[in-house]
Structure formats: C-alpha cells, structure tokens
Amino acid sequence: MANTAIAAEESTTNVWSGGTTPMKASYGKLMMWFFLLSDAFTFSALLIAYGMIRYSHSAYEGIFEDFAFSQEYWPIPEMVFEAVPFLHGIHAPLIFVGIMTFVLILSSVTMVLAVEAGHRMDRRGVEKWMLWTLVGGVAFLGCQAWEWSHFIHGADMSNNVGSNTFMGANLSFNQYGPPNFAALFFFITGFHGFHVFSGVMFNFIVFYQTVTGKLERVGHYEMVEKVGLYWHFVDLVWVFVFTFFYLV
C-alpha cells in the first residue's frame, strides 16, 4: 500500500541511542549541521581576510575605461575575469562566472528534488535527480578548471613585473595586480573547488547506493538529505564568493 512507504521515516530513523530525538533531527543530520557551521567559520575567515588584504592595498582611482593592470593597485575584478571559452579576444566581463553560478544553483535545485523524491521512497526519482546533480557538479568543476587554466596562463594584456614582462599568474607574481590578488584567488576558489569536488564524490556514493538498491533496503533515503545539506552549503559559499570576489 502506498501509505506504508514513509511511515518508517519519523518513527525509527530519527531516534538516537538515548531513545529520544533531540531537536526533532536525526543524529546524522544534526552533526552535518554542526560540521557545516564550522566550515562556515573557515570560509568566512578566508573571505574576511580577502576583504582586509584588499583594503590594505590602494584601489584604482582613474577612469573605468582606461583601466590597465598594475602592481600598484588592486585590479577591478570584472577586468580580470572577462574571458569565455571559444570566444578569444572578446571582452565579456563576468559572463563565464555567471554561467558557473547558474550551473551550481541548478544543481542545488535538482538536489532538492532528489531529497523530495527520497521522502516519497521514489527510487527512480532519486536516481534521476541525483544524476542531474552530479552532472551539474562535474560541469562546474570543468568550468573552474578552464578558469584556473586561463588565469594561470594569462590574458593578452601583459604587465611588467620589475624589468620582466610577465604573463599569467603564480603565487609570487601575477599580471593582474599585487601578488596577494592571485594568492587569494587560488586559495579561496581552490578551497571552494575542493569542497565541490568532495561533494561530487559524496553525491556519487549516494547515487551508487541508490542505484544498487541499498538505500531502499535500509528503508529510508536520509543519506540523500545529509549529502544534500553539504551540497547546498557548497552552493551557499559560492553565492558569497561570487559577490565578494567577482562582483564587488
């Protein structure tokens, strides 16, 4: 009968070993929340460090149209991130990073739909939406790989570092601005990218367990909810990285 399907969820899975359910949340979900809180501290520390280091460098004062890269001042982000694959030489500020943002939001939506299907014990639905979530995650990682590669190899506008002309970026020098600019780019987007990577791994494990029918035998799809929380958090962090690194 249809209505026997989710009876298990509230009665058995949420009870802790003490026999009660603190805050009406299962142990796994609550611990995931506390982990995410600690991770939020890490990411805020990185972003606050970005803000502090940025404002201890001078900003570009001239006219926006005449902007050129220099070691003297912090670059305007949309002048740095203005390339799109296959459109070489076309000035398209923030377009590519916008595509990445929409990809990540969409994969967050498909994750919500997977959780919703899991509540209804709909195995086919969980399979379908987890697969779309995986596609979104891998697409985002691919975009980021391209962006890093472009950032490291450099844009057409080269810049003089000391007596040498320098193209691209590494941890000591970069053509876009002060050394800290590239260092923070690598650190913050790299740390976030690593979270996306591990999220894709978790999603794959849960997808695999769904396809093999393991979660159905367990009797509930709470694993989908737990990795879902992690995946939404990765999206949440990207919303902040997008604003503070690319827009402002």
Binding site: I6, M23, L37, L106, V109, M121, L229, V239, L247
Partner: protein, 107 residues
C-alpha cells in the same frame, strides 16, 4: 514486471511542493540576474556594494531556509545554527577595525 513482492511503492508527488521548489529556484535565478544588471549598468561605489551584499544575504536566506530546510526545523535547531553566526559578524567588525589600523600604520 511484478517479480518483486517486497518492492517499495513510491508515493505520488505533491505538485504544490514541486512548484514551491521551482519557485524558490526562480527567485534565486532572478536575484542573480538583477546582480548582473547592476554590475553592468551602475559604476562601482559604496551604494552598489551595499546593494550587492544585501542581495547576497537575501539569496543566502532562501538557500538556508528553503533548500536546506532550516526554516522548517525546530526553533532550538534554528537558534543553535544561527546564534554562532554572531561570531562571524563580530569577526567582520573586529577585522575592519584592525584593517583600518594596518592601513594607518602602512601610510
């Protein structure tokens, strides 16, 4: 295809719930689109930065409250996640103060 007697029967989807999910998704997309329009039309400045931060927090609220379902949890759970965030706000202010002092020292 009736070989499994113990096959779990999936419940039918609730269209209102699905519509709600896509509505929130539409909101998030729309806010991001507004951020783009602002980024392309309005020159950088203090007010623009403030609007960006406000829109970001608005988006964050939707993600945490709806997608992560925190808005529908028990109040004690909401509080145990949201109150420690005060530390982050404290950290922002203390580092702004510190940053201003470092700027003074450098100049």
């Amino acid at each position: 295809m009736e070989q499994h007697n113990d096959q779990v029967q999936a419940l039918p989807a609730d269209p209102a719930k699905i519509r709600k999910i896509w509505k929130v998704a539409g909101f998030l997309g729309a806010i991001t689109a507004i951020e783009f329009i602002i980024a392309f039309t309005i020159p950088p400045g203090g007010a623009r930065t403030f609007v960006f931060i406000a829109l970001t927090i608005w988006k964050a609220f939707y993600i945490v409250s709806e997608f992560m379902h925190l808005g529908h949890e028990k109040k004690s759970l909401i509080m145990s996640i949201m109150l420690p965030v005060l530390f982050i706000i404290f950290f922002i202010f203390i580092m702004m103060y510190q940053g201003a002092r470092i700027l003074d020292a450098l100049n």
